[in-house]
Subunit: 311 residues, 2 copies
């Protein structure tokens, strides 16, 4: 198919390849036959099977320029960001990541790069109406993190509009999967199931759009390999409420997630679901996991980490 | 009045003070009794009357940090940008200015700064409906320059929303005045009047909102001295079409601007006028110049530059 032809031998530079989504990027890129270059502060891996690791702090712009001049990548898949749980939403580090992303893009374009794919967020959208649609939903970020991502969208979108470079922006909705930070929702549910300790859901009917991180990673690669321009929601297109999510986690764990249910009366954003027509019909991407099979994969991973008899 | 009390002795850091608007900033700041610090690549002036000049390239972030640590300003009025005529709308330098503005803001906040005022643009708005209103007009930048300004708006607006710093953003509409680049609209009209050479107006009925640069500068100072948060249009609130503008330039020049008139049929943005209720009622700013008196001031300046008998 077309993707493979387009990408065989293409030099791709990846940032954030050791992250929650990024760890699912390299396999699909290798499957496309790309020459993959990874920038990382602390490259944990050795070069292997067409993947070359380069040690560089993305905030060191001179270092990035020197590396980019040596690699001269045609494609840039930029996932790196500071997402320290509990901090990243309001951290001043967001300002630094906007700067370093623009420096990276600038250097990439000056070195002859052709296509940039970056990671946006559902939080760029107003959440007052669902589904969130790339073309019509107002862009009203409600945090410094979301405002910083939207800032990059505006600059890179206009940069690509003047023909300097191709550009697509994957807006990620709600993710789960192996290696997620333990304080995040699904790991907390898994832990509640394991320990049979009650979990309080303040908004049990709150509906969100969940996708396994491996599918988000594969969707980023599909987006990079396509010629689709602009924002594309990376999501399932299906809404699931928190009670149902907990039910599926329990099912995968072979037990129940003990819940205490609050009321949804004060939930300002009861439903956040993505419109995924662009992802399905233009990028032609279909997720590998359903929510049920994805949660089973995730719960299995957590149980392997912690031991089934951890209660 | 309240402004003076608030600002007397306040340490204010100004960037872009030698620019088209910036040159009108220092007088009003001095009148408020501020301790004014100017950062400039090439400080043309010596310290005088409460204004201290510091030589520093804003793209040298380490230099900015060192200077900021020494000055520890309470207010930041950031006007500097690359606005090379014919280039700035599409220039990759816009990416650099977003980076340096965020670095400046980050350093300012870390050094205890309290209030940032920055320069936005009417081009952040969709121009499909007028007047452009801060609260309701969609933000749809149509150039890299406008997208870069809007990017800063989103980051700094969210930064201030979390209480880190006060922030206002003056969206500048259409300006004229002494020292404008000769290839810009009003200088070209003045030149056509002086030489009695015909000027072609492709869209003679195109309506824009014009304000003298001295009033824009004074409005920025009023915005800095106020406690108004968020975006504020800096404009007259009145629309004038190009034929009428040329008529007023001719009147001020004591002759006519010879015109050749095109058709407006293909003008995608026939009217761009600002809603100025925030500027008038919240910032409590009233322009000193009418369009007529402002153009007279401007034409007089040009004639002093070039001599009345230049034809």
């Amino acid at each position: 198919m077309g993707f493979t032809d387009l990408m065989t031998g293409a030099r791709v530079l990846v940032t954030g390849a050791t992250g929650f989504v990024g760890r699912h990027i390299l396999g699909p890129l290798q499957a496309l036959g790309c020459e993959v270059h990874v920038i990382s502060r602390r490259p944990a891996n050795h070069d292997s099977r067409g993947v070359r690791y380069h040690e560089c702090d993305l905030h060191n712009h001179a270092g990035v320029a020197s590396l980019m001049g040596a690699i001269r990548p045609e494609h840039l898949l930029h996932l790196a960001w500071d997402v320290t749980p509990g901090e990243y939403i309001t951290s001043l580090e967001n300002l630094r990541w906007v700067q370093s992303t623009l420096a990276l893009a600038h250097i990439f374009v000056e070195c002859g790069g052709r296509r940039i794919v970056g990671a946006g967020t559902a939080a760029e959208y107003s959440w007052h109406k669902s589904p969130c649609d790339e073309a019509t939903t107002p862009l009203v970020p409600d945090s410094l993190y979301a405002g910083s991502k939207l800032a990059l969208w505006h600059v890179l979108d206009r940069l690509s509009a003047q023909g300097s470079v191709g550009f697509a922006w994957g807006r990620v909705f709600f993710m789960f999967g192996p290696h997620e930070a333990p304080e995040r929702l699904v790991p907390v549910m898994v832990d509640a199931a394991r320990r049979q300790q009650s979990l309080t859901l303040r908004h049990p009917t709150q509906v969100r759009d969940y996708l396994h991180a491996a599918d988000v990673g594969a969707a980023f690669v599909a987006l990079l390999a396509s010629d689709v321009q602009g924002a594309v929601n990376l999501a399932s297109g299906e809404g699931t409420d928190l009670s149902a999510l907990a039910g599926l986690v329990g099912e995968a764990a072979g037990t129940e997630v003990p819940l205490e249910l609050g009321s949804t009366l004060d939930d300002p954003h009861p439903v956040v679901v993505a419109e995924v027509t662009r992802l399905r019909e233009e990028v032609r991407f279909t997720p590998r996991f359903s929510l049920r099979s994805g949660l089973r994969d995730t719960v299995d991973w957590w149980f392997r980490q912690h031991g089934n008899a951890g209660t």
